[in-house]
């Protein structure tokens, strides 16, 4: 039986009726057509589907959609400002070569945001720890770490 949910998505209120078994990832990609959040494995093992829920990272592919009720969700689409300017983290990823195929990037950027929101001046160890739940096959992580470090030094 469909249920109604109300939540804040990228700063805007959203209200819709969904089937109860939907994951947050399905809600975002299939119902709301926000395809920026990716499915890498569907099992919570790669972090490609990472979104922010009340500022904390979660794997949306295994998160029950109904549980966003009354909460704030941020996806990659919500990171640019109203004029479409890139967030400093996005800028740094672009400038430091932290993006190759880009499939892991949306999730990676949001993990970086959660890390920097909590620790604005992380050590290299803390950066590695902060993005450890996001797999990347292309970059070998090092330029991603450099990009995050650069943002923290701004």
């Amino acid at each position: 039986m469909k249920q109604m949910i109300k939540f804040i998505l990228n700063g805007e209120p959203v209200e819709l009726e969904i089937e109860p078994h939907l994951t947050l990832l399905q809600l975002l990609r299939d119902k709301l057509e926000l395809t920026g959040t990716k499915e890498g494995c569907g099992m919570g093992e790669c972090g490609a589907c990472t979104v922010l829920l009340d500022g904390r990272t979660v794997n949306s592919c295994i998160f029950p959609a109904l549980e966003v009720e009354g909460k704030k969700v941020m996806t990659i689409e919500g990171l640019t400002d109203a004029q479409g300017n890139l967030h400093p983290i996005q800028k740094a990823f672009v400038e430091y070569g932290a993006i190759q195929c880009g499939f892991c990037t949306p999730g990676m950027v949001l993990s970086a945001k959660a890390l920097l929101d909590e620790s604005p001046k992380p050590t290299e160890e803390e950066i590695r720890h902060g993005i450890a739940g996001n797999l990347c096959r292309c970059t070998g992580y090092l330029q991603i770490i450099q990009a995050i470090k650069a943002v923290s030094e701004q």
Binding site: E39, G97, I99, G102, C104, I131, Y141
Partner: protein
């Protein structure tokens, strides 16, 4: 030193913004109105006869629009050996065999329909060890396959890979030291974060469009056209449109069953059909890196000069044939040409088994062969009492050399790479401590100037410039994330005298883009770069001719720099590029500013003896590692990692470093943690939890050392770098472990268990 505006600059990728904002459309994001979703039913047995397939319940499930089996489709044979069909009839030969496919209005219904298909099998005995499969009496995978002199049914493929140069037997007799070892490498897989998939769609006239993530658009177009002919659609067109690609690494160098299945479903339903793999399918139904059993012997003189290299390999071909069976053609490269070896013999057999089948993965056989060769170099050096650093230097390749495989070595920075690594690791000081910490190094050779593995190694480029100076570069190349687009833009911008931001690169549509043989062999910067360079030079010529008229100068006395055409004699005499362009178009008797260039490098196909100058120039490199081994647990920690590469010239140092970091990380996983575990033909770890690719906490701080030898044939001197980073990692690490604790591991991955077992064995 030349004063470049665009070359050698750390320019961000042109598609980075699209990707970092989530706007990029990958195959998973593509939605076409009316699109159906396809799903595939796989075999539950490694080897069985198909007795009956009952699809009636599946067909009547609401939402299901088509159900296909091997019995209701035309025969489409594909693969290098044409031994594979999209849906199997008569029998299944491995767990990943496709038995039926469904198209439905949503993926859940398609999945449900699969569960309603009833297949009856008669289980057949199976064989999973290639050495067993070679023997008489072993179960035959393809009963109609005959081979050998007597043309008897056999599992041994008719691919007698054999390279001989000089006299290995004689050299063995006269060698002062001879090492003999068996090395084993197993399956590992690409782990692209974006899984495989495509969307197939027919128009009303039965012309086909496939939205694809292929690395070989022109060749895929050919494969699809062949399929159309097999479907009775001779003469119909196939168009390949690429979406953003979520990782390649060689995984998309062949066409797969699922693509043909999508095409067949689209044709049957008259609707677009999308098939996208789940992660589990990505692990068990795509083709991994070729495993090998390698028997290798090398010898040297008393003063450490290599005398011969003798290698025999047995390759598990799996149930069907793809590029894995051709990896010997690339393995020959390090075998014949890594270090100076006067006498070489290489024999490889490919054997059918009921395991999964392999294809290309970053290095295409080179990582496998180099693991054996450069591990054994250390073994040989120790026998001869020579420091492995000196041993390598003594045998290092040099510019101008012609190797036993008739490779003509152009630029060669191998000595510089070995030296750079030795310095960074403080080799003389730090090696030989045997206190749990150790140093190791290993080198590599790879094609760096294209590779004529097909009849053509070519790539076409068309450039047109509009009224305002926007340079449209239409290339046959493929950008799968490595940054080919950006590098091509840099080359064109530099050659034309404009800036990178003026250049737009299009590479995604076979209806528009020129021909290219594919993104393999690390050829894109070199071949597509040269192709674009050739077209850019032609366009510059046209531009200068047009400007010459209005400027009252001869074209030869003009040049363009930073969007300004100026007279070389009097640089103050200049005109903005845009003005010259508008003058060209917007006039009577105007001229279109457009040029094309097809560049096919002056390299050679390997002849019947597998000799020939495969590439125009070769890339060299050396990796050095410092490890620490925990003697109680066998765990290996990398303390220092340096990767020196002779790249000709770094067109974009930032992207180049990205290739080194990414390649080396993949290679470290190959050495220490990654393994696709097959048990009786079944993949036991088809998920990211149990397939151990490295995380951000595991990757060491890799230091790339860029050696520029300025190759005369490369665009602005550049050679390839896509694969080299993955090639010497395993032997470098194995050698370092030996230096640290005195144990030599000869099979990958070097797990803590293997190290601990070897340490315990050593104690006894």
């Amino acid at each position: 030193m030349q004063d470049f505006i665009n070359i050698g600059k750390r320019i961000p990728k042109m598609d980075a913004e699209e990707k970092v904002t989530g706007k990029a459309i990958y195959i998973h994001d593509l939605k076409i109105p009316g699109m159906l979703y396809g799903k595939i039913l796989y075999s539950p047995h490694p080897h069985a006869r198909i007795l009956n397939i009952d699809t009636t319940k599946a067909e009547t499930l609401p939402g299901v629009k088509a159900v296909l089996t091997g019995y209701n489709i035309p025969t489409i044979k594909f693969g290098f050996y044409k031994d594979n069909v999209p849906l199997k009839a008569n029998k299944v030969c491995s767990f990943r065999d496709e038995v039926a496919a469904v198209a439905a209005t949503d993926p859940d219904i398609a999945q449900e329909a699969l569960e309603l298909i009833k297949v009856e099998y008669e289980i057949l005995p199976a064989v999973f060890d290639p050495e067993e499969a070679m023997m008489a009496g072993a179960p035959l995978i393809h009963e109609e396959h005959v081979g050998g002199k007597e043309k008897k049914p056999t599992n041994i493929l008719n691919l007698p890979w054999r390279l001989v140069s000089g006299d290995v037997e004689e050299a063995r007799k006269t060698s002062a030291f001879v090492a003999e070892d068996r090395f084993k490498v197993t399956w590992v897989t690409h782990c692209c974060l974006g899984t495989s998939g495509c969307v197939a769609q027919f128009d009303l006239k039965n012309n086909l469009t496939v939205y694809s993530i292929t690395q070989i658009p022109s060749l895929a177009q050919r494969d699809y056209t062949d399929a159309l002919a097999a479907m009775g659609l001779q003469g119909k067109k196939a168009r390949v449109i690429k979406t953003m690609i979520g990782g390649g690494f060689g995984s998309k160098l062949d066409t797969y069953a699922f693509e043909y299945i999508a095409i067949l479903l689209a044709h049957r339903t008259r609707k677009p059909v999308k098939i996208v793999f789940s992660r589990e399918e990505e692990f068990f139904a795509t083709s991994p890196r070729q495993p090998a059993v390698i028997d290798i012997s090398q010898g040297c003189t008393k003063d450490g000069r290599l005398t011969f290299r003798d290698i025999r390999m047995i390759l598990d071909n799996g149930a069907y044939t793809s590029w894995g069976a051709t990896t010997p053609s690339v393995m020959m490269m390090p075998i014949s040409s890594l270090y100076k070896v006067p006498n070489v013999r290489y024999v490889a057999k490919c054997i059918y088994t009921n395991n999964t089948y392999s294809q290309a993965m970053r290095g295409y056989g080179n990582p496998q062969a180099t693991f054996a060769i450069d591990s054994q170099i250390d073994i040989l050096a120790e026998m001869a009492g020579i420091d492995p650093l000196d041993f390598r230097m003594r045998n290092a390749n040099t510019p101008g050399e012609v190797t036993p495989q008739n490779f003509k070595i152009n630029t060669c920075g191998l000595r510089e790479c070995i030296d750079a690594v030795a310095q960074k690791l403080d080799w003389r000081q730090n090696r030989g401590r045997r206190d749990g910490k150790g140093l190791g190094m290993a080198s590599m050779i790879h094609v760096g100037g294209g590779a004529r593995v097909y009849k053509s190694d070519g790539c076409g480029t068309i450039i047109k410039i509009d009224d305002f100076g926007t340079v449209n570069v239409i290339t046959g190349a493929t950008d799968m994330g490595q940054g080919a687009e950006t590098v091509i833009a840099q080359i064109v911008a530099e050659a034309l005298g404009v800036r990178v931001e003026d250049v737009v690169v299009t590479h995604t549509d076979t209806d528009i883009c020129p021909w290219d043989v594919g993104a393999h062999a690390s050829r894109t910067t070199f071949v597509a770069g040269n192709s674009a360079l050739g077209a850019a030079k032609k366009i510059k010529h046209i531009l200068l001719e047009v400007a010459a008229q209005s400027m009252g100068e001869s074209p030869e006395s003009l040049d363009i720099r930073d969007r300004v055409i100026f007279s070389k004699k009097d640089p103050e005499k200049k005109t903005p590029l845009g003005k010259a362009l508008r003058a060209a178009h917007y006039t009577s008797g105007g001229k279109m500013i457009m040029a094309e260039h097809f560049y096919d490098p002056a390299n050679e196909n390997l002849d019947r003896e597998f000799k020939g100058n495969l590439s125009v120039t070769y890339a060299y490199g050396t990796h050095g590692v410092e490890v620490e081994v925990d003697k109680e647990t066998g765990q290996v920690k990398i303390l220092k990692y340096v990767a020196a590469h002779d790249v000709g010239r770094a067109i974009n140092p930032m992207l180049l470093e990205g290739q080194v970091y990414g390649g080396a990380t993949m290679g470290i996983g190959y050495a220490l943690t990654e393994r696709l575990i097959l048990k009786d033909g079944k993949v036991m770890n088809p998920n990211f939890l149990d397939y151990k690719m490295l995380t951000s906490k595991d990757v060491p701080n890799i230091e790339p050392l860029v050696i520029e030898t300025n190759d005369q044939f490369g665009p602005f001197g550049a050679k390839g770098i896509g694969e080299p980073g993955s090639v010497p990692t395993a032997p470098a690490i194995a050698n370092a472990i030996y230096d640290a604790v005195g144990v030599r591991i000869r099979d990958l991955p070097i797990t803590p268990e293997k190290v601990l077992a070897a340490l315990q064995e050593k104690k006894k």
